[in-house]
Amino acid sequence: MMIKSHPGESLLYQYASGDLSAAMTLVVGTHVDMCKTCRQTVCEIEQKLCEENLDALVGVASTTMSKSQCDQMLEAIFASSACNKQAHQPNEILSLEGRRFTLPRTLAHNSHRIGEWSKLVGKLWRAPLTLDNGNQTNLIYMAPGAKVPEHTHKGQEATLVIDGVFNDEQSEYRDGDFILLDPSRTHTPETQDEDCLTLATLDAPLHFTSGISRLLNPFSQLFFR
């Protein structure tokens, strides 16, 4: 099955340069883990960035760091110990509601950041993935037959399907599909017969737009943050 929805090239470029937020880097990076096409593109972009930022500078050599600066730094490096700040062991299995999901690499490396699952409206579950001061992404699990009330996004939201399938008014999204939503678009994600695990960034709370679900707005930051 082909992944049909990818991050745009400028987003991949910012990802490779290290210019995205931690949350967006995590979501784009997880897509890249799942997507050979984008992995290839990122390799090419990194190579290009390297050519522009490092390789192009053939002439600078002698003009900058002095001999003594170099020697000093070399000495410090040889004296340093291998920085084995023991990273958390990657855990690529996620169990939820009797289901086992295999997490892609970048997400598996951050599994220790996944917080408690809590049940939201309908057939939805959410677990925060805390990145840094005040920032997080969310893992969202939609059981079969789940429906998120129609809403818009006040900020830019990226959603990545880790496993399963969901659809909105526009299309159907499956494993690896990356969806970028902007504030101008309302949508109503739902699952049919299958369930779906997604990873989503959210800059601002959802804004519910239709009928009775508007009553949820005052509480929306409790649902998706």
Binding site: G29, C43, N110
Partner: protein, 206 residues
């Protein structure tokens, strides 16, 4: 969410000088990894430190932070040289991605708290775990090896041959493409289809 458009490979456009420089750097890295050679590292350092310094100065506009980036990047190169994989890209690209990660962390340093995420967690390029990305999400590799023989008979011939060469003979998709005289794209789609089929067979059987 645009479709990824076709783009040209940059590798073909490398000049001879660049290729020579890349070979030289790769050789130095392997000496560092194998013998902990300080001489090889010093030579590599003289090749890259000024470039890194120039990159960092433009990024930070601050001499001291720029020197920090050079030192931290090259410290990683010294200790992690064994993680450089020549088949994945050039030495300078590898060093650049390390510098990119250091820059990401340095930019957040003032605000950073103890448990905050670091670039190494976002781009696990220096992870000792040698996680393969090749069939990554499609199927767990061990499960594949254990359960494959039974289900595998149910695959169409064309797909089975590809899976056999990749997972049993350990060939790359490019090698399979060359061996069978079939375009790489076809090999990729056969692999994908076969893995999907296998996944369905295994799941249905649960």
């Amino acid at each position: 969410m645009q479709m990824v458009s076709g783009r040209t490979s940059k590798r073909g456009s490398m000049t001879t000088t660049q290729t020579d420089a890349a070979d030289k750097a790769a050789e130095l890295l392997s000496k560092i990894a194998e013998n902990r050679s300080r001489a090889a590292f010093s030579e590599l350092f003289r090749l890259f430190a000024p470039k890194l310094q120039s990159y960092a100065t433009r990024q930070f506009g601050n001499e001291q932070t720029a020197m920090d980036l050079v030192q931290e990047t090259m410290t990683n190169v010294w200790h992690k040289a064994h993680l450089f994989k020549p088949d994945r890209g050039s030495p300078s690209t590898w060093i650049f991605t390390i510098a990119r990660n250091i820059r990401f962390d340095l930019l957040r340093k003032n605000k950073k708290r103890k448990d905050d995420i670091s670039a190494d967690e976002l781009w696990p390029i220096l992870s000792e775990q040698n996680d393969s990305l090749d069939d990554g999400y499609a199927l767990d590799h061990d499960v594949l090896m254990q359960e494959i023989s039974f289900y595998y008979a149910k695959l169409p011939d064309a797909q089975r041959v590809v899976i056999e060469k990749i997972y049993i003979e350990g060939k790359s998709q490019q090698e399979v493409s060359d061996a069978l005289g079939v375009p790489l794209g076809t090999i990729k789609s056969r692999t994908r289809l076969a893995l999907k089929k296998l996944k369905e067979l295994i799941v249905d059987d649960d």
